[in-house]
């Protein structure tokens, strides 16, 4: 699995997101900023939906690097209890079944689902989903 950027996911299987813990304050952010100020930390794999929207049009390129073919997707903010709220895609759920507070599980998704070797981006699915 190839992440869209280095240092975004852990190398283990299944992978986890990598956040950064401020060495002075303990505050966790995502992604881990470059430099010495933050220590990389593997974030929780499970969380709950804090808020969301549906991206209904293809974002402008640049910067968007996804495929020309566009289907709307869910943009989610996922609360990882006691750590941080991260922004990611939400897959494997119908738009009208999304509920704030629903339990979610980290499951990286391809930026281009039609490509064999697509880079993977941060994404979650409902905790019970098999995706």
């Amino acid at each position: 699995m190839r992440a869209i950027a280095e240092g975004l996911f852990t190398d283990e299987t299944p992978a986890r997101l990598v956040g950064g813990r401020n060495r002075e304050t303990g505050r966790i952010v995502f992604p881990c900023p470059p430099g010495e100020s933050h220590e990389p930390v593997a974030l929780a794999s499970e969380g709950t939906l804090w808020s969301y929207t549906v991206q209904r049009f293809r974002p402008k390129s640049p910067p968007y690097a996804g495929p020309d073919a566009f289907a709307p997707w869910i943009v989610a903010y996922v609360e990882l209890a006691g750590e941080v709220i991260v922004e990611a895609r939400l897959d494997a759920v119908a738009f009208d079944e999304v509920k704030i507070g629903m339990p979610l599980r980290f499951a990286p998704a391809p930026l281009d689902p039609a490509a064999a070797d697509s880079v993977m981006i941060p994404a979650f699915v409902p905790a019970g989903a098999t995706a």
């Binding site: 869209i4 950027a5 975004l8 956040g19 505050r27 966790i28 952010v29 995502f30 992604p31 804090w50 808020s51 969301y52 929207t53 549906v54 991206q55 209904r56 049009f57 974002p59 402008k60 640049p62 910067p63 968007y64 690097a65 996804g66 997707w73 943009v75 903010y77 609360e79 990882l80 209890a81 006691g82 750590e83 941080v84 709220i85 991260v86 922004e87 895609r89 738009f95 704030i100 930026l111 981006i121 941060p122």
Partner: protein, 386 residues
Amino acid sequence: MSGVCIVGVGIHKFGRTEELSGLDQGVFAVREALADAGIEWPQVQFAYGASDAAGNPDTMVDRLGLTGVQFINVRNGCAAGGSALFSAQMAIASGQFDIGVAVGFDKHPRGAFNALPSEYNLPDWYGEAGFMVTTQFFAAKIMRYMAQFGISQEALGRVAEKAFRNGAKAPHAWRRTPVSLEEILEAPLVSDPYTKYMFCSPAEGGVALVLASEKKARELGKPMIRLKAATMRTRPPHSFEVFAPSIDVVADDSGPRGTATRIASADAFAMAGMGPGDIDVAQLQDTEAGAEIMHMAENGFCAHGEQEQWLIEGRTEIGGALPVNTDGGCLACGEPIGASGLRQVYENVVQLRGHGGERQVPGDPRTAYSHVYGAPGVSAVTILER
């Protein structure tokens, strides 16, 4: 601050004016404001100019006259116009100057602002993955607010409906055709729960205000519109702002988080010696329909969740208990960043002078409130009194 008055206002119509640069529109507004104040450019002792994307404001001295006047450019995100006004009033309140200008203008390309991650200190992948889209932030913010405080999508529609209805009555507005609530709600979604009518668009326009000391204002013989408070504030910890790959967790997340708006608003009311109940008309940042709803509460005009009923009862209509965005706000006027905050103050001066025509707030309003909010978590508030 009772010593600072607004003695002249000018505006170039918002929207799209292909044949004029942003600067041209700023110059137009300054000339109109000078004429309104009954003064000439050589009498102006200083100017603060705001523009985000349309060049350096001070270059307008070429057009207005090379009088050697002090002219300072202000670039401060979405609070640029408010910051120009704040700086101008300080120049007078300090006693250094008696009369000066705050001007703001802008001219943005069509469509959504196209931001690049590097401009925001974000990694490239964030944009490549499709997260560098401002509308996502606005939508995610209101989605949580609606769930927390029981606000419906119909309430968002009512705000947009009011904006276009008011804009139709404001000569300087861009969108001047009323749109029915049904059409607003059934329009294509841009970013759930917002349909295309619920977002403002980047635009063009120019606004200028002439500020004077109270003594100077009396000499000019203009109606005394006093600037009772002007504040500009930045965000507190844990706020949720645009282009956020992560947000802080907090111990109790059941209520609304702190915002720059709440700080700017509370400080402005304290400075003016007034409370929200004393305000007769308000212009609140409405980048999107939900912003107006959240800002009604963040500025202290109602409790979180009361907005649904306020909108159903028409309390924020021009004839209501607290008219909000009487010229249609950003939704009807568009958002030229440098000019937007000054447009609100322009509209408030028009209302306090009783010159609002078809959109005039009835009952002889004496106090007016303006509020800007935007990237990167900044807010500016003014309170005027006649």
